[in-house]
Amino acid sequence: MSSFVQDDPHAPAHDAAHDAHGGHHKQTFVRRWLMSTNHKDIGTLYITMAFIGACTGGMLSEIMRQQLMYPHNDLITNGNTWNAIITAHGLIMIFWFVMPALIGGFGNWMVPMMIGAPDMAFPRLNNMSFWFLACGFIFVMTGLLLGNGAGAGWTLYPPLDNAQYSPGLATDFALFSLHLAGISSLLGAINFIATILNMRAPGMTMHKMPLFCWAILVTAFLLLLAIPVLAGAVTMLIMDRNFGTSFFEPAGGGDPVLFQHLFWFFGHPEVYIMILPAFGIVSHVVSTFSKKPIFGYLGMAYAMVIIGFVGFVVWAHHMFVSGISDDSRVYFEVATLVIAVPTGIKVFSWIATMWGGSIEFKTPMLWAIGFIFLFVIGGATGVVLANAGLDQELHNDYFLIAHFHYVLSMGATFGVFAGFYYWIGKMAGHQYPEFWGKVHFWSFFIGVNLTFFPQHFLGLAGMPRRYPDYADAFAGWNFVSSVGSIISGLSTMVFFYVLYRVFTGKDVLEDNYWGEGATTLEWAVPSPAPHHTFEDVPVIR
């Protein structure tokens, strides 16, 4: 990756002449936030959505951990309530926290600036994407709160969520919320692909494009190919529930396992949809704070392409105990393990980027380092689970829960926080307080590890997932895990304080407040980035 320097370093001053908060034509609140077509404003809306989603999903997880703190606990005495909570926690954390934060939020904010484009290719479509998602959130919350709630788990396996076993509107609301989130993601993906392929500044070839843009491009293609399959599966479920079809009804010649195939054909790429943008952010942060260009740029970019491609042909490793044949088990195990190789390329390239660097351990770098280390642990347990023979023991137990929270609750979430601390000065115009950022990192690091590491032991001892009450033998590690979740919760309070300090800050930031290590185009425009960037097309040397 070459360094991106504008021809005329003083060009951004032209933009700075505008009022950073709305341009010379002052917009009303409704006009600016409800009818926005500006990629930065829409990015801010997405980040706000992610904040609401994270708080909601996080609150649900605190409730779950409080219930699980002791066996025979009486916080939640109704299994339906419990099932509704676990379902909403999964759906909200994926579709209304991680995806809007990484793709809609940072993607919208940074991709056009990084490629030197004035905005996204389809600004109105962009606005539409966001409001579909916001409406979807209302639907998923309705699914949680209405009647018994939608309680089939986020994987929505039939027959449990068909009309017979999940009567009532709640499950329909949850299913339609996925349609809305899906349309939102699909339109967003089309927008990103069009933007990245067509709107790069002169000289910004694909092979000079920042890795975050590569990550978003691959993610967008994954969304484009995976979301329609989910939409098909969800539509079939809705038809089964409401219009008497029997796609997944054995009594009518249907097959519940068909749904699992369709769901995971979407669901596995979805895993990479959540983690690839975090890969991109971590690459930028590691490079910036090592004051070194990224090591093996092309390898890094194409590793993501390969991960995305192979990610489409491994879905049935989620179904090792669904009665698929031994041959299928062998194939899906081997294909899954192959993904470890491009992932290894990424991890080693990050370390090689730091090697020989001059590393400053600022808060974003701490989150990025935390990401790399914890993602390696989550990846290692992923290799364990990919072994179909071992999955027969570990499937659906707490070892699996620990694994995917290491890659999501620590992987994707650490990526979100790395991006937040890295870019918040560029987005808000005020720097975060370094001390409190570090307190947030260390408390969160301790909290999540204490929450999820003991869950490996629970899984090995045989504790199944989605249980509101468990045998007394699982009490010890569950208690430790719940204490960890309290620490994570308190850590989030520190984050709220950081937010308060950022938004009440009076400091004025330079364009490139990270210095020589930060070489992408967003650092060539003022902080905060003006409402319109690149009214003059930048030229990349």
Partner: protein
């Protein structure tokens, strides 16, 4: 009838060793031998249960094998990162290098992980074939998941078909060795040392037939039969739980297995047939359907 079976069982037991005989005489329960050993999870457990079957032993071995490789990988990455932080922090190394390529190292970090995967894949695939080999069983039991209990149908004992409910929390009697959330009213009784095939299916929604100490786990899927098998090493009580979300009482349909010597098993089948299929009320009253379980807690 029950008395008669007890006597018949007592006679059959004469050929067995003395301690066992004494136990069988004092309690004419053909599954008594299973009480001698209980394979249940224990607090602060941090590894698999003690292997109750050859399959679980193989899983345990492969798990250790793969985990040691993974521990080496994680340890190596951790060491590299620690070295980098000490050697290349801003104080120790104020002037960064600008090296961005090294073909040799890039080839190494593609080839070495591939080789590690290869040495993992070979034993791992063998385990898949081993787990999938349900041929030539001594007997087959159809396991049917229901909301929220299990039903066991012995294919080799026509007519032997019964249901197994969790004992509700307020009826648990620890003095009888009952374990809250794991003990059931009518356990699955199986002979030790024989290959047992499970035909797993469901009568309503998905369930998960999960026996951690035996290394068995398959979904119970309505409209289809998924097979697995086990061979239990020694008499004892083994536990499992439903491991696929199935609604309101997903956490209240455990599996309890009483593994007994073959002779005891055969004696039990006779007693059980009498108990469960002579149209009389079962000797042990079935508890009320666990509809109110949630409220009882």
């Amino acid at each position: 009838m029950k008395r008669l079976c007890g006597l018949a069982f007592g006679a059959a037991s004469l050929v067995l060793f003395a301690a066992h005989l004494a136990m069988a005489q004092s309690a004419p329960d053909p599954t008594a031998a299973a009480d001698a050993y209980v394979n249940a999870p224990h607090n602060w457990q941090w590894w698999f249960p003690v292997s109750g079957s050859p399959m679980q032993a193989k899983i345990d071995w492969l798990m250790q094998y793969v985990l040691w490789w993974m521990a080496a990988v994680v340890g190596f990455v951790a060491l590299l990162m620690a070295y980098v932080f000490i050697k290349f922090n801003a104080k120790a190394n104020p002037k960064p290098s600008y090296v961005t390529h090294n073909t040799l190292i890039e080839v190494i970090w593609i080839v070495v992980p591939t080789l590690i995967l290869a040495v993992i894949i070979i034993p791992s695939i063998n385990l898949i074939w081993y787990e999938g080999d349900t041929s030539n069983p001594y007997m087959t039991v159809t396991v049917t998941g229901h909301q929220w209990y299990w039903e066991y149908t012995y294919q080799s004992v026509p007519g032997l078909d019964y249901t197994s409910y969790m004992i509700p929390d307020d009826q648990i009697d620890p003095s009888k060795g009952q374990i809250r959330r794991l003990s059931v009213d009518h356990p699955l009784v199986l002979p030790v040392g024989e290959k047992i095939k499970f035909d797993i299916t469901s009568g309503d929604v998905l369930h998960g037939f999960y026996l951690p100490s035996l290394g068995v786990q398959k979904y119970a899927i309505p409209g289809t039969i998924v097979t697995s098998w086990t061979l239990i090493n020694k008499p004892g009580t083994y536990y499992g739980q439903c491991n696929q979300i199935c609604g309101l009482n997903h956490d209240a349909m455990p599996i309890e297995i009483k593994a007994v010597p073959l002779a005891d098993y055969l004696a039990w089948t006779k007693a059980a047939l009498a108990d469960y299929t002579d149209n009389a009320a079962p000797t042990a009253a079935l508890p009320a359907p666990p509809v109110k379980l949630a409220d009882a807690r």
